[in-house]
């Protein structure tokens, strides 16, 4: 591990000042950052321990929704009575991720900022444009089993690995950020980026900005499901995951907010799916059309070709479960 300075800010402003240095990293639960520091994938000069800040609260929000503090642990969020009753998709997604021990440490903000588990990113003997811009991508012609099929670029095919944010994208939650330029809100759906020419940037957070909370909208009701397809039943990243908030009205779909994990560099949300599904009767043919739309630009890289049919099947299964349609 490269030597680093360690500081504890006494205010949000102070935290902003400390993290505005490009070689600084904020640390909360540390479940991802410390691993990466041991591997020298992350080599910050300074660690800013934001656990000193009071950002752990989960409280009712003005919009009738719920504000989840950036330092609320995943365990606390998943167990919160309002999350369980009003936003079950979020509780389910969180509980599908990592292990109990990790969830006890992992936080809302840290989870949003976690980095890809691409094998080439975490191995400093390998080329990786995300870790070292311009060095190339080892995964494109390598073992790309975990990798993206949507929104990739010739520079990077990494996936965003988390589950929590996928549910938040389906719920259309908002990330609250404070920084040198003041406060701003970014929809979770826009928080993570596609790799493009700058895969080193995972999300839209700028230097000196700190996540303070995620705000969930007023309860949306409906049937809320999180389906995570994985190789073993715990402690494995999603091959494909689907977060769904679906409401029926008189045999027709009244709401269908969907987001996908394991497919892209970000939790994948395609607004066209909702447009296609709403107002329709749930049938296998309709689900197929939705999958066609979702996957029309999908591109496999050999090892991960299977994700394309798997995403289609996971989508159909989830919609069937949510709507009661027979497949």
């Amino acid at each position: 591990m490269k030597p680093f300075r360690y500081s504890r800010p006494d205010s949000l402003d102070h935290a902003g000042q400390l993290t505005s240095d490009a070689d600084a990293r904020a640390i909360a639960g540390g479940t991802n950052l410390i691993d990466l520091m041991k591997l020298q994938v992350e080599t910050p000069q300074q660690l800013v321990d934001i656990n000193t800040l009071s950002l752990g609260e989960i409280a009712d929000a003005e919009n009738g929704g719920l504000s989840i503090g950036a330092l609320a642990t995943n365990t606390a969020t998943a167990a919160h009575p309002r999350v369980r009753s009003d936003y079950p998709v979020l509780a389910r997604a969180i509980l599908a991720g990592a292990t109990q021990q990790l969830r006890n440490k992992a936080t809302t903000g840290g989870n949003l900022c976690q980095r890809t588990r691409c094998y080439y990113f975490t191995n400093i003997d390998q080329p990786c444009n995300k870790r070292e811009p311009g060095s190339g991508c080892g995964a494109i012609d390598g073992i790309a089993r975990l990798h993206a099929v949507l929104g990739t670029s010739p520079h990077c095919i990494a996936t965003y690995p988390g589950d929590m944010a996928v549910a938040m994208a389906a719920l259309d939650a908002t990330v609250q950020i404070i920084g040198p330029a003041g406060e701003r809100s970014v929809p979770v759906r826009d928080f993570h980026r596609l790799p493009g020419d700058t895969p080193e940037k995972d999300n839209v957070l700028e230097a000196g900005e700190v996540i303070t909370a995620v705000t969930l909208p007023a309860p949306v009701g409906g049937k809320q499901l999180y389906r995570k397809v994985r190789e073993r039943s715990s402690y494995a990243f999603a091959l494909v995951s689907v977060a769904a908030v679906v409401e029926m009205d008189g045999g027709r779909i009244a709401r269908a907010d969907l987001a996908f994990g394991g497919l892209a560099h970000k939790p994948w949300h395609d607004p066209r799916l909702s447009e296609l599904l709403v107002g329709e009767e749930p049938t296998a043919a309709l689900f197929d059309k939705a999958a066609d739309l979702l996957l029309e630009d999908a591109q496999g890289y050999g090892e991960n070709d299977f994700k394309i049919p798997l995403a289609r099947r996971a989508l159909a299964a989830t919609l069937a479960e949510a709507t009661g349609a027979e497949l």
């Binding site: 490269k2 030597p3 588990r117 390998q126 390598g142 397809v229 073993r232």
Partner: protein
């Protein structure tokens, strides 16, 4: 003693103490779960320096020069050890000599070639990333990583009759190509060593399975006498084959301690463990089964391609049990080895049968379907009376009984079977079964048993306990023989100052060292009988006294009474085939949309000779069944096709089964006596639990979903691709 004939009259069936076989908990268990049992890296040694290995970022070539200056200038760095003996491979199990050492030559990606030593671990780890060196890497187009398409050599072959003809003429024939992935041992405790040097003597605290061989490996590697080396390995946090032979951490720590004249600790990182330590070879197997209308085999073919580095003699012995498990007049068994530049292939959890048996048992399931014979019945019809080629009798054979008992307990519905008969919501439900077989291994071993004047006993051997219960069973054995309750027997293991045991591996520890303890205790019983003036055969010891006679304390009269027992397998394996047998039954559910498979329940019945401890034996069986789930569903090493490096080198990405993947495991121990296997009539257990179990799951996947997957592990993508 050297065993040349069966020991049909075993004292252990006559002794009255009744501690042997009892389901006692492991005596060191509390220390382990409370964190007070010191593992190799945890010995508190003053002024210990910390070493971190530097590994090669290429698959084949040479390290041309190492510039230590930058590294030495870094904070806390004490030395860079680049002794040429460091560029060694791990030693194969039971090597007893230096592993392949090629100075400065690199044979696989991630091979260590230097050690950075610093005052603290973090300083060493940081500096290790900054060691400057030059190298010449061979052109990747000239280096083979994939055994398919690489030239191979035939390692072994058994031919009898004409298999091709039998296949052509057979009423029913199965010709199947089945692959299995490479595996890592995946022990929880990483490889670690602390070496101390006093100017002439070397002491190494290490995590090793076979000190009796390891001491020779270290001596040979360093050019030292064994008398000047002491190895200590009291607790081992899992071995699974990866600690049979010494690995680079032992040599690196030793060389550094000898150079710097200070204690040095070297602990491999999780990634280094995966990248350096022995892998199980991937396999490609061809199974050919020719049978008549009734399913009786007339032809049996099992061939396989495995891989290893050049100059390694080990080849994943997938044919071991296939040689004798089923009948079939016309036989062809062959094993080919391709030379590839992945890390050394060696023993990993039941080498051979762990992947050979699942392939065979999938083929048997296909034959059952082809013939319409119930899969259990098909196996029963093909149990040979003796070794199908050599005609040697079996020393004991519990396959039929295990099949029947397990089928009964599981609730197996006999008869012809059709896939896709039961669905619950999204899940197809089905059942499958497979036979278990594992060759019985045994080794020479020594143990010293001392009766103390206070009426307690002390057992000493350099045998290791890799978490399986060796401390406990040796205590039970000595207690049974000497008429002492378990708590009156102290067992000391894992130190080369004690007599040479057998080491733990190949499931041979209990029968080998157990026999040495048995022999030592026989000697003690003779002496006690003579002192008490009783006929040796009439001596009956219980609770510290001779029945109707004096107490041990009186007989010992204030002095130790010590006996060293030596056991050696003689020519008996010329006369008998000894093996453990068993059967597995599994119920799985396969998701019709996603191809995910979950095991609902699993039953295993095993016959492995005498049960020394009901609890530890059961745990061994369950552990093996857990690994069966890993082989079937999740475990696979993935190598980069471009430069040959191992990509999934941690426990997050190398998927061993987690708790939630493991259902209740029903274990039936079909106790028997195998007088030819060992003087104590016991055989190995641990590995038997995973010698075929993966096929029970694979066959259940087929029965549930109709997906006949031919590649292990059966991940969701493969199940989906094979679904009708």
């Amino acid at each position: 003693m050297e065993q040349d004939k069966p020991n049909r009259e075993c004292l252990l069936d006559k002794t009255p103490q009744a501690t042997l076989g009892k389901p006692l908990s492991r005596s060191e268990g509390l220390a382990k779960v409370t964190g007070t049992a010191p593992y190799a890296a945890e010995y508190p040694i003053a002024d210990c320096l910390e070493g971190v290995l530097v590994t090669a970022p290429f698959a084949r070539g040479t390290i041309d020069s190492i510039d230590k200056d930058t590294c030495l200038a870094m904070e806390g760095v004490v030395a860079v050890i680049d002794d040429e003996r460091l560029t060694s491979r791990p030693a194969q199990g039971t090597a007893g000599e230096a592993p392949v050492q090629k100075p400065r030559q690199i044979d696989y990606f991630g091979q260590p070639f230097a050690l950075v030593v610093a005052e603290t671990f973090e300083q060493a780890r940081h500096a290790a990333k900054h060691l400057e060196f030059t190298f010449t890497a061979d052109d990747l187009s000239q280096v083979s990583f994939d055994p398919e398409g690489t030239e191979s050599e035939r390692q072994e072959e058994t031919r009898q009759g004409d298999l091709a003809h039998a296949m052509a003429e057979a009423k029913h024939a199965v010709d199947a190509r089945i692959t299995t992935a490479g595996h890592a041992s995946a022990a929880m405790e990483p490889h670690a060593a602390i070496a101390e040097w006093d100017g002439s003597n070397l002491t190494v605290h290490a995590s090793l399975q076979m000190l009796n061989y390891n001491i020779s490996e270290i001596a040979d590697s360093l050019g030292m006498e064994e008398d000047n080396i002491r190895l200590i390995s009291r607790y081992v946090g899992g071995g699974f084959g990866s600690k049979l032979g010494i690995s680079q951490e032992c040599l690196a720590a030793s060389l550094a301690a000898m150079t710097l004249e200070k204690p040095v600790r070297v602990v491999l990182s999780r990634q280094q463990v995966f990248q350096n330590i022995m892998r199980r070879s991937e396999t490609t197997q061809r199974l050919r089964l020719a049978a008549g209308a009734d399913g009786a085999l007339n032809g049996f073919g099992h061939e396989g391609l495995v891989s290893n580095l050049p100059k390694e003699s080990f080849a994943e012995p997938i044919l071991q049990s296939s040689q004798f498990l089923y009948s079939g007049e016309n036989r062809l068994l062959g094993l080919d080895v391709a030379r590839v530049h992945r890390m050394t292939a060696g023993s990993v959890r039941a080498p051979g049968e762990a992947v050979g048996m699942p392939a065979l048992e999938v083929a048997m399931d296909m034959l059952a379907e082809e013939t319409g014979v119930d899969p259990v019945e098909l196996r029963l019809r093909n149990i040979p009376d003796a070794h199908p080629v050599e005609g040697t009798p079996f020393s004991s054979h519990k396959l039929a009984e295990c099949l029947k008992q397990a089928a009964d307990s599981f609730g197996w519905e006999a008869g012809p079977r059709k896939p896709r008969q039961r669905r619950e919501g999204e899940w197809w439900i089905g059942t499958g079964m497979a036979s278990a077989a594992r060759v019985h291994n045994i080794s020479k071993a020594k143990a010293r048993v001392t009766l103390k004047p206070d009426g307690t006993a002390l057992v000493e051997t350099d045998m290791t306990d890799i978490g399986t219960g060796t401390y406990t069973i040796l205590g039970q054995l000595a207690g049974e023989m000497l008429g002492l309750p378990r708590e009156k027997v102290l067992v000391e293991l894992g130190d080369t100052r004690f007599p040479r045991g057998s080491g733990s591996g190949g499931s041979w520890g209990a029968s080998s060292v157990g026999s040495a303890v048995y022999v030592a205790c026989q000697g003690l019983r003779r002496e006690l009988a003579s002192r008490a003036g009783v006929n040796e055969d009439d001596v009956s010891l219980k609770d510290g006294r001779i029945a109707n006679g004096p107490s041990l304390v009186d007989l010992l009269d204030g002095k130790d009474l010590s006996e060293e027992g030596f056991y050696e397998p003689g020519d008996i394996d010329d006369d008998f085939v000894a093996a453990g047998f068993g059967a597995y039954f599994a119920q799985v559910r396969v998701n019709r949309f996603t191809g995910e498979t979950r095991v609902d329940r699993m039953t295993g019945a095993f016959g492995f000779g005498r049960v020394l401890n009901q609890k530890t034996a059961r745990s061994q069986c369950q552990g093996g069944m857990v690994w069966s789930i890993g082989v079937a569903l999740t475990e696979a090493l993935h190598f980069d096709p471009q430069d040959g490096h191992l990509v999934n080198c941690d426990l997050a990405e190398y998927h061993v089964p987690v708790n939630r993947d493991v259902p209740e495991l029903d274990v039936i121990m079909v106790e028997e006596r195998d007088p030819a296997a060992s003087p104590i009539q016991a055989k190995g257990i641990g590995e038997l639990g995973m010698c075929g179990g993966a096929a029970a799951i694979a066959n259940a996947i087929y029965n549930a979903s109709g997906a006949r997957v031919m590649d292990f592990p059966m991940t969701p993508d493969r199940v989906l691709a094979a679904m009708p």
